[in-house]
Symmetry: C2
Subunit: 391 residues, 2 copies
């Protein structure tokens, strides 16, 4: 493995395990800060490998490959949460600074561990239980009401590993795998929100404003920053929960907490329950690339290097992010050219990925004063690139 | 030469001759737009070669190396203006789209050609003449007054190739080189301004607001965007001159026109004369990286690819850029860490270059409402990184 080229002047190398779009989007921030990135990529044409000079191909499951990769890095962080605990611990034992640490990362890798810990901390969650079979699931559903949200504790993302069941027998196939599942009461929520924050090994922390996320078929398709009309007390509660979690779980780096906003009872104030926890830059934070003084990718690099964190103030009254999904047409460049002509203020972020129907291939950001107009622009851009509108 | 890895979907490769900081700063914009860059670099550790995967080492003076490099590129552009005309013409003859074109670039390469063309177009210039010896220079000085600004027509930058002489005999050493020189009357200017603009091969053009530049020893050290208190008529005149020049000279890509603001006669309105012309992204436009909807680097890529140009509106009332020069201390990272702690809103852009006293190694941008505070922050950051202030 060739050592990454380091900028002179004592600047560090950050190793990222995984060469997806999150690693890719760290590169512009790294370039400005003179930090060198090195990614352990899945393939030579991984999203990040197209833009980062040091991108050796290797597997995040192979402890020797990961250790060899880490040898040239001052700190190691992640593009995804799928690095197994033994590999993480081997890195730590080899003296490599790893952020987030394995002890924190487990709460993003294992949803049962997350629910248990959050409940201990008194952070609001939906009613939940670990269930081993249809009998336990039936008991849970009968107690908390049907349908029930059933989750595989590990490996889920973008709606995968989550299903909503109306009866216990429906879930027989998942129990047949022999692993316990997480059952959660279906929360009657108003909307989905997310809070993004960062914490450094020294304990400095910063929280961006709470945003509203719009999910379509389990994939985040739109983010409104900040969440329109959010009750200021609820904003403060959610931000405080994120900071408290960061400290209690000793999270380092950028992380996101996805929550449901729950309507107030009998005209009372709204509340929230935590849905998911992600310990890395997150789709709900892509708006920060153009909408905040410090982007989540710059902040993640600062945090894992224990550099002082950057300012998280929004740069415009509203920023709207629209995810771009692949459509039927593999050729994207001519579509994009037309789109740039239509909207000269659109900020396009593409991931260098081959177009496949439904695959996340990029996102757009727009910012300004008029939320409805911004939503229309972002939606149009996403639809146009996907090919579902033609003009 | 290994071909650069191209993003799927029909996205192009832009070749940049020269691996300096201007090529380097195109890379974040390219990554977002999914455009692949390839740089013909001076060395494996050139500023751009540290961050761009495709960075073959070669000379911009060698026509075969340049042609081989260009073979994998959809368009070729430049980090600097030093590529000789025969190399440029060989590219054009080989069918490579080159932007800016050699016929335009000559006006940035040759100051005598520039003065001649601008004068033909009726664009205000200082009084000037081509001078071949001390006799011609003495005649010019006696006519227009001493001191005289003397310039080598080619190869100057950052104050190099320019001197101010009080008598003709002082310049004997430059005449001894056997090349004619450009003599210019010293203009009694109020301040230096610059206008940055872009034009695409299709003829679309866009102009950023006129900025004020502050030069120290011939190096741009500070840029105030927009130029404070600028007469709106003068802003319009300068912007119109830039657009007219772009069309008349058939400029493609980003370019900058540096001008002197000249006080009005007898209480009349101020006017301007053109000082220099640069046909590439320019130091006076670094503020756009954080201060404008579209940065000059993104705009340059759009322009040379004949993509629609992006919006050039400022994002804040004021943006101030401060150039960072190298100081005595080669170790920069610990200084930078302290600086990030002091000013969490500071946007740092470092070029990955070894520190040498007086060398441009980066710049900082700050933006907001209070110009005096912004100037103080940018100045402090530059001084602190240079090591001339310690706290």
């Amino acid at each position: 493995m060739t050592a990454p080229k380091r900028a002179p002047g004592g600047f560090p190398v950050v190793g990222i395990i995984g060469g997806g779009q999150l690693a890719r989007m760290c590169q512009p921030a790294a370039e400005n800060l003179s930090i060198t990135l090195s990614v352990l990529a899945e393939s030579p044409d991984a999203a990040a490998a197209l833009v980062i000079p040091s991108a050796p191909v290797g597997s995040h499951l192979d402890v020797d490959e990961v250790l060899a990769f880490a040898r040239d890095c001052d700190v190691v962080t992640f593009d995804h949460e799928h690095v197994p605990a033994p590999v993480l611990h081997a890195l730590v034992e080899a003296g490599v600074p790893v952020h987030p640490k394995p002890e924190a990362l487990v709460y993003a890798q294992d949803k049962l561990a997350m629910r248990e810990r959050l409940t201990e901390l008194g952070i609001p969650c939906p009613a939940w239980a670990q269930v081993h079979d249809t009998v336990e699931l039936a008991a849970f559903g009968d107690l908390h009401g049907w349908p029930v949200v059933l989750k595989t504790p590990r490996g889920g993302y973008d709606g995968k590993g989550v299903r909503v069941v109306d009866s216990a027998t429906e879930a027989q196939d998942w129990f047949d795998r022999g692993e316990p599942l997480l059952a959660e009461a279906k929360v009657p929520f108003t909307r989905e929100l997310a809070v993004l924050a960062a914490r450094s090994p020294s304990g400095q922390a910063a929280v961006w404003p709470v945003v509203q996320t719009v999910q379509t078929d389990g994939i985040c398709t739109e983010v409104l920053a900040p969440a329109p009309g959010l009750d200021p007390d609820l904003q403060a509660q959610i931000a405080q929960a994120a900071l408290r979690l960061a400290g209690e779980l000793d999270i380092t780096g950028v992380f996101a907490v996805e929550v449901f906003e729950v309507p107030g009872v009998a005209g009372g104030p709204p509340s929230y329950v935590v849905n998911e926890l992600a310990m890395r830059p997150h789709n709900s934070g892509h708006w920060t690339m153009d909408g905040s003084v410090t982007s989540q990718f710059e902040q993640h690099l600062r945090a894992v290097l224990d550099l002082p964190l950057g300012e998280v103030a929004p740069r415009a009254p509203w920023t709207v992010m629209g995810n771009v999904l692949g459509g039927a047409d593999e050729e994207l460049y001519s579509t994009y050219r037309h789109l740039l002509a239509r909207d000269p203020g659109l900020k396009v972020h593409l991931y260098g990925k081959a177009v496949r129907p439904g695959r996340k291939i990029g996102h757009v950001n727009v910012y300004g004063d008029d939320l409805d107009q911004l939503r229309a622009r972002a939606q149009h851009a996403a639809d146009y690139l996907e090919g579902t509108v033609r003009q």
